[in-house]
Symmetry: C2
């Protein structure tokens, strides 16, 4: 089934202990859509400025991502500049230039409104709500959020959450939003707001989910070399939603499989700067890494 | 098979967001030995002062822990005072009084030297080496260490590591010791020093192991309420070594099972202050939690 994603397309400048990259392709919807494209047909809704390099469009085209909803507005593309320290866990934002993002009001075409699977990136919850209101054929809608909206629009965010089927959020934000240090409690609290599934991303440690009262722990793939963690969470979410859209139904088993797929996609993504690795995979690479993760989690019953 | 542990017995004062406890029973060897006692017979080698309350001996007696090696020296028992913030991940040490610990030089009795399974808590690596030299019937010897020895006696620690079968260390220390942010690389680096197994503890996220070139991810049990994280790592190690000693052999399967047992023991431990919960379990509680952890990790093959 087709998958719609609404989020950001950006030009990123990133520095890690292993190198740096200037004005490379980035943005949550970029990582998400390329990751998801390995599993299903993806429609992208985002905004770019007039300075957006043409060669970046080739990335979306190569992955057959429909860009009818990628609007060009007068002005510059959203830019993010950040660096990572030695442990690669926390991004230090050096500069954020919202630019054309300030004017972004997604209007769904008929084809976009008919997508059964939908992912709302961490944009303004008021815009998330506007998008949900335009959906005509929704089967499974998920949203992400971030500290800025938790701090500044918590009530609007709660309203948006009440309208979706799943929330995907990172652990710091989940704790901040619910005011509890326990991730299980945080997931349950968010679940009480409406969605039937909650995924909490734990960075290099993997993720946990809460679904119909059951908890699942998905490990991250243990890499020897991480070059650039930018987009890991979005590649993860793209893998999760892409796989669920491919399966066409969300149940305990498909959700658990989707999270391992997400771990596999995130692990490939962090092996290079920008999307270099994520754009050059074969489907079999995904299967291989999925199976590798499975091998690192199996244990026998207690004797 | 019997298990010998050398480490600290302490009187702890702990404050968490959920309460506080004054001069309660603590110390790495205490948590370790009580946890391990659910699986095998344990001999404890440690030192206490003349102020050590008699009722605390009842804990060791209740768990049939042999205390022939628990030496009383003139002076006060080792005391640690610490607090935990809201996220419960990092202990802030407020006071450390080594007291009689300064004079601790473990001399093994014949019975202690004949224990096939041995765990060396995070004491001075020179003392760890002296203990290893006294062993007469070793089958599987493991050691723990800490930032103080990594910073001050790295060469002695490497020498001790070369003499053991397994290293159990937490992730911050593993990174510091090997100078790499990657835990897989860190585990391999430590493995190159001699031991055939390396376990890296990740606190609330669980642990990973490296054994004969294979990596394993053991999740922590996801608790709704954590009251006091003190002793979690030692209860984990006690579960791991206790289970391995019970099995009598260390292979890929028994090590993976042992780590899940360790997660189970650590999860019970943090549900109360001091050893309140850890001293009141039935063996069936361990089995139940092991099975609960298993349920949170199972996923099907990729379709």
């Amino acid at each position: 089934m087709s998958l719609l994603v609404i989020g950001t397309v950006a030009l990123d400048s990133v520095k890690t202990p292993f190198g740096e990259a200037e004005s490379v392709l980035g943005g949550s919807a970029t990582y998400f859509s390329v990751s998801a494209s390995y599993f299903t047909s993806v429609r992208l809704s985002a905004v770019i400025g007039e300075d957006f390099p043409k060669e970046h469009m080739d990335v979306f085209n190569k992955h057959k991502i429909n860009t009818d909803g990628l609007v060009t507005l007068p002005g510059e593309t959203f830019r993010w500049k950040g660096s990572y320290g030695y442990d690669l866990n926390t991004a230090n934002t050096l500069e954020t230039h919202l630019n054309v993002l300030m004017e972004f009001k997604p209007k769904l075409t008929k084809e976009m409104a008919n997508c059964p699977f939908v992912f709302l990136g961490n944009i303004d919850p008021d815009i998330q709500i506007e998008v949900i209101d335009q959906l005509k054929n929704r089967k499974f809608v998920a949203l992400d959020s971030m500290n800025f909206w938790i701090a500044n629009k918590p009530e609007e965010l709660k309203k948006a959450i009440a309208m979706v089927d799943m929330v995907v959020i990172n652990e710091t934000e989940a704790r901040e939003f619910t005011g509890t240090p326990s991730l299980v409690k945080a997931a349950k609290e968010i679940g009480k707001m409406g969605p039937k599934a909650v995924i909490i991303k734990q960075g290099e440690y993997g993720s946990i989910s809460w679904f119909k009262g059951e908890v699942f722990s998905a490990p991250a793939f243990l890499l020897e070399d991480v070059y650039d963690p930018t987009g890991a969470g979005d590649s993860f979410a793209g893998g999760v939603m892409g796989y669920l859209a491919k399966r066409g139904e969300v149940n305990k088993n498909s959700l658990r499989q989707a999270m391992i797929v997400g771990s596999a996609m995130a692990s490939y993504n962090v092996e290079s700067f920008s999307l270099d690795k994520l754009t050059s995979l074969e489907f079999n690479d995904v299967v291989n890494r999925y199976n590798e993760i499975k091998r690192t989690t199996i244990f026998e019953d207690l004797k």
